[in-house]
């Protein structure tokens, strides 16, 4: 959505939106890295599964904002 809108914007609007996209991508990167942390530190399989699926869901929602 954000990518499609960026083409019709002024330069300052584009910069603002690109920053927004960058921030969302960063959040996705953080969540991916936190999944690795959970995999390494959480020793109960069901708890690990619960947290990882929660993070994946959050990543999916963030992705929808920039596609």
């Amino acid at each position: 959505m954000l990518f499609q809108k960026v083409n019709k914007m002024t330069i300052s609007e584009k910069t603002e939106k690109q920053n927004e996209i960058y921030e969302i991508k960063t959040q996705i990167g953080i969540l991916n890295q936190m999944i690795s942390q959970v995999q390494n530190s959480c020793y109960i399989p069901e708890a690990k599964k619960q947290l990882v699926s929660e993070y994946i869901c959050e990543i999916e929602n963030l992705r929808k904002q920039i596609v």
């Binding site: 921030e23 960063t26 959040q27 990167g29 953080i30 969540l31 890295q33 936190m34 690795s36 942390q37 959970v38 530190s41 959480c42 020793y43 109960i44 069901e46 708890a47 619960q50 947290l51 993070y55």
Partner: protein
Amino acid sequence: MANKNKKKQEAKKAIAPGAIAMGQKNVENILNAQSLEELVNSSRYIDSVNESYEQGKGYYNPSLRKNLGSLFYGDPTIFSESGEDVVLDHLENYSEKLNKALISKISENLEDLIGKLDSKNLINYLYHVQPSKSASEKYKDIASVHKELIELNAVGKDIDSMRNYLANYYKEDSVLSYWINGSDESTKKIYEKTVQLKQLELNIALTKIIEKDEKQERVLDEDKLRDYVTECIKGADEKIKPYLYKDLAYNALSKSK
């Protein structure tokens, strides 16, 4: 007018050194005879008096004067015309004695009080008390994650403290370290997820495995939780113990009503 003068004379008479000593003894006797519930109610009353003072309402509180008069000298009218300093002196003396009696009574009933708190309340309590030495020895796994949660809680209000703590915590994770030193939003996100992970780890450490319908199930071990909280409170720093005790009694007795 004659009546007013009489009262003034009585007030002066009441604060004579011998009378004060006797009044203080009266208060001690009354407090020693009170139940834990009565002491907690008195303590709540004093909290409300102090709160009202902090709001700038002063100590010209007629019911406070009546109560202090009855407690010290068995006469609710004795402070009706006294200056604020006289009321304040008596209030401070009463508060000190009340706190002492309350803490002593809570110590005697500590385990009963902890028994009155439900598991949600007990887990919340862990955010206000540090893992004690004995609790850390007895429950190493719980104490370790509990300590991290307390530390995370302490740095949560200030972005620089948050960043410093996380940078040290994730020093071996180059990806997270990069983002921790990036925008405030990134740091906050990593903080939020770390707290979530630690809360989950604490919940796991507080569980036990039971057999249910031929399957193994993980459930909260309430006895372990209760024992852990008791150990932490008993081993708390002497300076903060009175506050913890009071908080515990206020919570436990309000929940039991």
